[in-house]
Symmetry: C2
Subunit: 192 residues, 2 copies
């Protein structure tokens, strides 16, 4: 599937709010168009096939659908999702990273059980958005705390003007964004 | 896939904690065995194929993987996941239900944008666990607030001793649980 279709979908179904936010909750992160997300997963596979990840890591909750549907293309690689709250069942050791959500206005702690990230494993990070880069850098930190290797970061939508992509790329990580928004202005979404 | 394999997996990889909790975070709700969950989705399809759902509804975060992988079997029916926090991007109207999490010891508000549940739609509810029934009853409430129709409730694991399945069935809803735990005692998981 051409990523032009993703841009068309974002324009057709997305809602630009102010200059910072694009809502795509009709297909990406509240209601899920699973056939469409499966095709986005195929595109991540096309771009990262050479990396042969042992696992795919994402952030709950909205990263989970696209990560799971990407994993189907990577020979059913296990998906691990970082949790933002510590349930009472999360008793043993975990890796932890602080993540600021600008959208929600809160700092949360992302954590992954130490059992599920192992030294030397190759990890592909997949998420719905790459905005300020907080979530991506938090996930990268979790991987590296485990001594595992970040193979790359894939995002469905990068908001270039919030500089997360630049922050992650400047640290030397490979980033693949399926649609890159340059600007949101007067209710319009402008792609790179 | 026989659901005996699910029971074997729960016994092999699950961890019984006290008399109330079984941790299955190595394949169901933290690390995800996507090929295995895809097969569980096929079993939900087998059991609910006659219901022809318009949408599948689940609860973030741990219901999302199995709901998404179930939707693939239902001709890519859209998945909607209820959110437990209100992000600043959730500006317009939503349906809301109070849900007590006994595991996390908190009451949260599950909400779904009114755009994504419509009158007369047939909704299949899918979740990872059916324990005290709080999440299932909350999801049922969201569906009925919209004037939509609950076609059934599917859970990967029902903890029968916590009576959620009974509560939901007594209200007249169809419930299909892929594995039913009768009792957790002395570190052992006993199936019905």
């Amino acid at each position: 599937m051409s990523m032009e279709l993703l841009k068309e979908r974002i324009i057709r179904d997305g809602l630009a709010i102010g200059t910072e936010i694009v809502k795509v909750d009709s297909f990406l992160n509240h209601q899920l168009d699973v056939a469409f997300l499966y095709e986005l997963g195929a595109e991540f596979y096309r771009r990262f096939a050479d990396t042969q990840p042992d696992k795919i890591l994402t952030m709950e909750a909205s990263g989970i659908p696209v990560a799971v549907l990407t994993a189907l293309h990577f020979d059913n690689a296990p998906v691990v999702f970082a949790k933002k709250a510590a349930p009472s069942t999360m008793t043993e050791g975990f890796y932890i990273a602080e993540v600021t959500s600008f959208t929600k206005g809160v700092i949360s702690q992302a954590r992954v059980s130490q059992k599920f990230l192992n030294a030397e494993e190759g990890i592909l990070i997949i998420d719905d958005f790459l905005a300020h880069g907080e979530a991506a850098l938090g996930l990268i930190s979790l991987v590296e705390q485990a001594g595992a290797i970040v193979l790359g970061v894939g995002a469905v939508i990068e908001k270039e003007f919030q500089n997360g992509g630049r922050r992650v790329r400047e640290r030397g990580y490979r980033v693949e964004s399926l649609a890159i928004i340059k600007e949101i202005t007067e209710g319009k979404i402008i792609f790179k």
